[in-house]
């Protein structure tokens, strides 16, 4: 077993497997599943104009997000990550199954913390609120991103590079976590078996995360594993029926409004707030924080 886990692998093979899951899953898993969701909506007589326009807005925000992600990603990987990797990292790890497994675990743990921060600081919520603002819950919502959503993951992945993991592997692992996360955005799948629900993040756990019901606020931040939430005190099971969206609904399917509403709300709040110190605190304190 240890021989298998420590057997040195070739990059070309590793990238191939990540390509199958990270890139091609859109074609063989996500799109078919979304079509199935649309059929279900039609069967339940919930397929209406608002849902279709909302889904289109989601895809458009993803396009805008992708541009910043690709630009920042290339810049971070080619410049910052490799510079850190070559100058401030623990001994470089060789490419084997253990390294890949640990890189995915660490990327998932980093995702937990950056996701938690996106919810718990004003600036983070200004961009991440876009993802939560849809009143629907389907695969297209997974692609609903805010303008600054690409920044925090890059910052939170740097420690993994410093621990000796290859920057490319870190990037591939991050995308792997994101793809897994995408698959959780569905109402079709109910609760899974107890051991699975205990260890992994599931559609049920993620529905809770998207709930605007008070008891579901700021819960279930995990990407692949829900054990991070259990260990760090943010777990909440799905009990009450989930009402999707945010406490202050957006009520719009205009992609530009959707994409920028968080930033524009933050800007209005900053404009109304007196004093430079309070303005800074609004950016770093939880989103519901108000100056005394």
């Amino acid at each position: 077993m240890i021989e298998f886990l420590s057997k040195q692998l070739n990059w070309i093979d590793v990238e191939y497997w990540f390509y199958i899951f990270n890139d091609l899953s859109l074609l063989y898993l996500i799109l078919p599943f979304f079509i199935l969701e649309l059929i279900r909506y039609a069967y339940l007589k919930r397929l209406n104009r608002d849902l279709i326009l909302d889904s289109i807005a989601n895809i458009i925000t993803f396009g805008a997000f992708l541009i910043t992600e690709v630009f920042l990603g290339i810049l971070a990987i080619t410049k910052v990550y490799f510079w850190i990797y070559n100058n401030f990292s623990l001994p470089h790890l060789e490419l084997n199954w253990t390294t890949i497994f640990c890189a995915i675990l660490l990327a998932d743990f980093a995702y937990y913390w950056e996701h938690r921060l996106m919810h718990r600081i004003g600036l983070g919520w200004a961009t991440h609120t876009v993802h939560h603002s849809s009143p629907h819950f389907n695969m297209s919502v997974a692609y609903r991103f805010g303008p600054l959503d690409a920044i925090l993951p890059i910052v939170f992945s740097l420690p993994i590079v410093m621990l000796g993991f290859d920057p490319i592997l870190v990037l591939l692992s991050e995308v792997f976590v994101q793809v897994f996360q995408t698959l959780l955005h569905t109402e079709i799948i109910g609760k899974l078996t107890k051991p699975v629900e205990y260890i992994f993040n599931t559609p049920s756990h993620h529905r809770v995360h998207h709930g605007s019901n008070k008891q579901y606020w700021d819960k279930n931040y995990g990407g692949i594993l829900i054990i991070w939430d259990r260990l760090l005190g943010t777990f909440e099971p799905e009990e009450e029926k989930v009402i999707y969206g945010i406490s202050e609904p957006l009520n719009s399917t205009n992609p530009i409004k959707v994409f920028f509403h968080g930033i524009s709300r933050l800007y209005s709040k900053l404009k109304k707030t007196q004093g430079a110190k309070n303005k800074i605190l609004i950016l770093i304190k939880p989103p519901d924080w108000e100056p005394k």
Partner: protein
């Protein structure tokens, strides 16, 4: 949950996961004893004149869109393997620029005449480690060759 509890639990998680990765990586490196290298009882490599002459600086002629000139590599003995790092760039006009110290070649099996290892190539901003072989022409030069999915080359390394 208290912030200190969050901090300690998070650090513990990082240490455990990264620790496992390093432990497995370290164990596997230490079990691959290369041919041609002899060891003392405490696993410290002893000098081996048959193979250690590869240690030092080597020059390789390079021609590409980005750079034309010589790249100087420095071979170091690291436990059981020989690793070559980029030491310096010397362009066609004789201008020097310090290399970034990136590891480019690892020879893990070397008998003094032939060796095998891994060569790092960068293609479309991604790094690939591909299998390579070295063949000594004489004590002051060797060829390093690789052939990987149709991507092949032979470089001549000359001792400085």
């Amino acid at each position: 949950m208290k912030s200190s509890t969050l901090l300690f639990r998070s650090i513990a998680i990082l240490i455990v996961i990264a620790g496992v990765a390093h432990l497995v990586s370290f164990t596997s490196t230490n079990t691959d004893v290369p041919k041609g290298t002899t060891y003392k009882a405490n696993n410290v490599p002893i000098d081996n004149s048959e193979t250690d002459y590869i240690i030092g600086k080597w020059s390789v002629s390079h021609q590409s869109k980005e750079f034309t000139g010589n790249i100087i590599y420095e071979f170091k003995k690291e436990g059981q393997v020989f690793s070559a790092y980029i030491y310096e760039y010397v362009d066609e006009n004789g201008n020097n620029q310090k290399g970034e110290g990136t590891k480019i070649l690892t020879i893990d099996k070397f008998d003094g005449y032939k060796g095998t290892g891994k060569y790092t190539v960068t293609y479309q901003e991604q790094k690939y480690e591909i299998k390579c072989t070295i063949d000594m022409i004489d004590e002051n030069s060797f060829t390093m060759s690789y052939d990987y999915y149709g991507y092949s080359d032979v470089e001549t390394w000359k001792k400085l």
